[in-house]
C-alpha cells in the first residue's frame, strides 16, 4: 500500500506539533527496534535534528517498511491511553484516521489495530501481522472423512468438482467473517481468525459450513454419496510466519489437529473449552460436552436431523 503524499505530510505536521524529537524516536522504536534517526537522516550524532526533518524522516521510513497502520495505532494509543506515562494530544489525528481508512484499512476495536478492509483486499496477514511476532489466534481446521476411499472410487474430475464445492462453501463462510483460508490440502485445510470476536467468528463459520454442506450434499454434490467433513476449532498463541511450514511446528495447531482427528466424528464440529467459554451463549448451547474422561473440555455439535 502506498501512502499518499498529503497523508504523509499531515502526519509529519502532526508529529511536529504534538511531541518532541525525543518522543518521536521513542515512539518509532515501538515499531522499529534500534531505530537510529541520526543514521537515517545523515545528521552527525553531535547535532540535534530539527523537528521537521526528524518527523519527515520517520514518516518516510515507516511508510517504506509498510508500518504506517501500526504507527497510526501508536498515535491513537498515545492520545487515548498514553505513552511512557503521559498522554499526548495528537494534532490532526481524526484526519489521519480518516486518511488511513480511505487507504483500505478498518479499525479493529477489540485489538485496537488497523487491519485491511477485507472487502477490498484479503492477504494472509490481514495486511498487518508481522513475521515472527506472537499473536493470539483462533483456527478452524476441516478434514474430509474417507478421502482415500473417495479418491479411489471416483474419477479425478468428479472428486475435484465435489471438493471445489466444499472449498467454496468454506471460503465464503470464513471470509465473510474476516477469516483467512491459510491452507487447502487435498482432503481438508486450515483457516485462521485474528481479529474482532475471533473465537465466535471461527465457530459461526464452522456451523454455517456444516449446514451449507448438508444442503450441498442434498442438491449439488456430484458424488453418489454425501461428502462428510469433520470440523474443529481451537485458539492459542501463534508466531506468525509467511512460511506455512511453520504451522506444523506450532503447539496450538498440533492440539487442533488432535481434536479434529481423535475426537471429531464426520458431519460434526468439535471446539475446545477455551473457545467454548468465549462464544455467545446462544451458540454455545448448540454444543454438547464430550464425555471422554481425558478430554472433558471438548464440546461437540453434530448435524443429524430427527
Amino acid at each position: 500500500m502506498t501512502i499518499k503524499t498529503h497523508l504523509k505530510n499531515t502526519t509529519v505536521k502532526a508529529l511536529c506539533e504534538s511531541m518532541t524529537v525525543r518522543t518521536m524516536i521513542q515512539l518509532v522504536r515501538e515499531c522499529i527496534q534500534d531505530y537510529n534517526l541520526h543514521e537515517q537522516t545523515g545528521f552527525p550524532q553531535s547535532i540535534s535534528i530539527p523537528s521537521a526533518d526528524a518527523a519527515k524522516q520517520i514518516v518516510e521510513d515507516i511508510c517504506k517498511l509498510k508500518l504506517f497502520p501500526q504507527f497510526v495505532q501508536l498515535l491513537i494509543q498515545a492520545q487515548n491511553i498514553g505513552f511512557k506515562g503521559r498522554k499526548y494530544p495528537i494534532a490532526y489525528l481524526s484526519y489521519i484516521i480518516h486518511g488511513i481508512q480511505t487507504h483500505g484499512y478498518v479499525f479493529d476495536s477489540e485489538n485496537h489495530m488497523f487491519i485491511e478492509d477485507s472487502n477490498l483486499c484479503k492477504s494472509l496477514n490481514w495486511g498487518v501481522l508481522r513475521e515472527g511476532v506472537e499473536y493470539n489466534m483462533t483456527f478452524l481446521r476441516f478434514d474430509i472423512a474417507g478421502n482415500s476411499r473417495l479418491v479411489r472410487s471416483y474419477p479425478e474430475k468428479t472428486i475435484k468438482k465435489a471438493y471445489q464445492g466444499l472449498f467454496a462453501i468454506l471460503s465464503a463462510a470464513v471470509e465473510k467473517r474476516n477469516g483467512r483460508v491459510w491452507n487447502l490440502q487435498g482432503d481438508g485445510g486450515l483457516t485462521a481468525f485474528c481479529f474482532f470476536r475471533k473465537d465466535q467468528s471461527a465457530v459461526l463459520s464452522a456451523v454455517e459450513s456444516l449446514h451449507e454442506l448438508f444442503l450441498y450434499n442434498k442438491l449439488a454434490c456430484p458424488l453418489n454419496e454425501p461428502l462428510k467433513v469433520r470440523f474443529a476449532v481451537h485458539s492459542g498463541v501463534y508466531f506468525f510466519s509467511n512460511n506455512m511450514e511453520a504451522l506444523k511446528k506450532n503447539e496450538t495447531i498440533k492440539e487442533l489437529t488432535e481434536i479434529e482427528t481423535r475426537y471429531t466424528k464426520p458431519d460434526s464440529i468439535t471446539i475446545s473449552n477455551k473457545v467454548y467459554i468465549s462464544i455467545d451463549k446462544r451458540m454455545a448451547d448448540l454444543f454438547q460436552s464430550l464425555k471422554q474422561q481425558s478430554h472433558n473440555t471438548l464440546f461437540n455439535y453434530e448435524l443429524c436431523l430427527e
Binding site: 451449507e212 444442503l215 446462544r282 448448540l286 448435524l303 436431523l305
Partner: protein
C-alpha cells in the same frame, strides 16, 4: 366410480337409480353445506352434481368461479327450476353436464353418464400423481400463467405462485421483554434477513405485518431451490440471532410453503385481495404450524428431489391439505 350429488332434496337421488344399478357407478347424496369443504378432498376419481335449486344466479356463478379454479374437478349442474338463463355459460366455467327441468324428473341412463365423462375425462389418481412429479405439471389451475420472473407479472392479473408464510413465534413474550425501540429494530432486522435469504429464489415480501407475512415466488421457478432456502433459514436461526439482530434474543419462527393462485397487486395495495390460497396459507401458518417448524404441502414436496423429501416427515392434514414437517437437528 363415485358420483356425489350435493343437494338438500333427498328425492333428487332418484335421478341416479339406473346409474347405481349399473356397475361401476355408485351415487352418494351429500348436503349442500358440505360442498365447499368437499371440493378440497375430491382427489379420488369422482364426478359430482350440484343441485342449484336453492341458489340465486349470482351465488351460482360465485360457486362456478371457485370450481373453475380447480381444474381437476368434473361436475354437472342440476337445475330443476331452470334458473340459469344462459346455459352455455355453465360449460364455459367448466361444467360437463346440465340437467334441466325435464331431465331432473327422469332417471338418468348410464349411456348419458358415459357421454358426460367422455366430454371431460376425469384424471385418474395414478395419472395425477405422475404429473405431480413432472416439473411443469399443474397444481391447482393449469389455466393460470406461471411467470418465471417478476418482470412478467402485472398488477391486477391472476397468477400461480409459490407462497410462503413466516412469522416470529412468541412475539407477545418478546414485546414484554424488550423495549419499543428494540422491538422495532428487531422486526426490521428480521424482515431484512427474510428478504436476503429468499432474494436468490426471487422471493418477494408481499404482505408483511409486524411479526411476519407472506412471501411470493413466481411459480415458473424451481421448487427445490425455494425449499432449500427455507431449510437454510431454519438451520440458521442461531447464526441469524447472533449476527443479524442487535438484541440478545434467540429467534424462533415458523414457516409454511404452499402453492396457489391469487390476483397480484403490489405490496401495500393488497387490502382488497380475496384468495382462497392466501387464506388457507394464513390459517395453516397461524393455526396449524407449531413454533419453530417448517412445513411444506404435499403437492410441493412431491416435486422436490428424493434427497430433500427425506428431510421431511408427515405432519397431518389441515383443511384436507396434507402437510410435511422438516426434521430438525437434535440440538436446534
Amino acid at each position: 366410480m363415485d358420483i356425489i350429488v350435493f343437494s338438500d332434496n333427498k328425492n333428487i337421488k332418484k335421478i341416479f337409480t339406473k346409474i347405481e344399478k349399473s356397475n361401476p357407478y355408485k351415487a352418494r347424496l351429500l348436503p349442500l353445506s358440505e360442498l365447499k369443504k368437499s371440493i378440497r378432498s375430491l382427489t379420488q376419481q369422482t364426478f359430482f352434481y350440484i343441485d342449484i335449486s336453492t341458489y340465486t344466479e349470482k351465488e351460482l356463478f360465485g360457486l362456478l368461479n371457485l370450481l373453475s379454479k380447480a381444474d381437476t374437478l368434473s361436475f354437472g349442474i342440476i337445475d330443476p327450476k331452470e334458473t340459469v338463463k344462459d346455459k352455455a355459460l355453465l360449460f364455459f366455467k367448466g361444467a360437463s353436464d346440465y340437467l334441466g327441468r325435464e331431465q331432473s324428473k327422469e332417471e338418468m341412463l348410464p349411456s348419458r353418464l358415459k357421454n358426460v365423462l367422455a366430454f371431460k375425462p376425469i384424471t385418474k389418481v395414478s395419472d395425477r400423481q405422475q404429473t405431480r412429479h413432472t416439473e411443469n405439471a399443474p397444481i391447482g389451475s393449469s389455466k393460470l400463467p406461471r411467470a418465471k420472473n417478476w418482470d412478467n407479472i402485472q398488477s391486477g392479473s391472476e397468477y400461480l405462485f409459490y407462497m410462503m408464510f413466516i412469522e416470529l413465534d412468541g412475539y407477545h413474550d418478546i414485546q414484554q421483554r424488550v423495549g419499543e425501540k428494540a422491538i422495532e429494530s428487531l422486526l426490521s432486522s428480521f424482515q431484512r434477513v427474510v428478504e436476503n435469504y429468499l432474494a436468490h429464489e426471487k422471493g418477494r415480501l408481499w404482505i408483511w405485518n409486524d411479526f411476519g407475512g407472506i412471501i411470493l415466488f413466481p411459480a415458473g421457478n424451481n421448487i427445490q431451490g425455494i425449499i432449500a432456502a427455507c431449510m437454510r433459514l431454519m438451520l440458521s436461526r442461531r447464526l441469524i440471532s447472533i449476527e443479524q439482530c442487535a438484541q440478545k434474543v434467540l429467534l424462533s419462527y415458523r414457516i409454511v410453503l404452499h402453492m396457489g393462485s391469487t390476483i397480484y397487486h403490489e405490496r401495500g395495495k393488497t387490502g382488497r385481495i380475496i384468495s382462497d390460497a392466501v387464506n388457507s396459507l394464513s390459517h395453516m401458518g397461524s393455526k396449524f404450524a407449531r413454533p419453530g417448524n417448517f412445513y411444506v404441502t404435499d403437492d410441493l414436496l412431491s416435486k422436490a428431489p428424493d434427497a430433500l423429501q427425506e428431510c421431511f416427515t408427515k405432519a397431518g392434514e389441515f383443511q384436507d391439505i396434507k402437510l410435511f414437517r422438516m426434521k430438525l437437528p437434535a440440538r436446534y
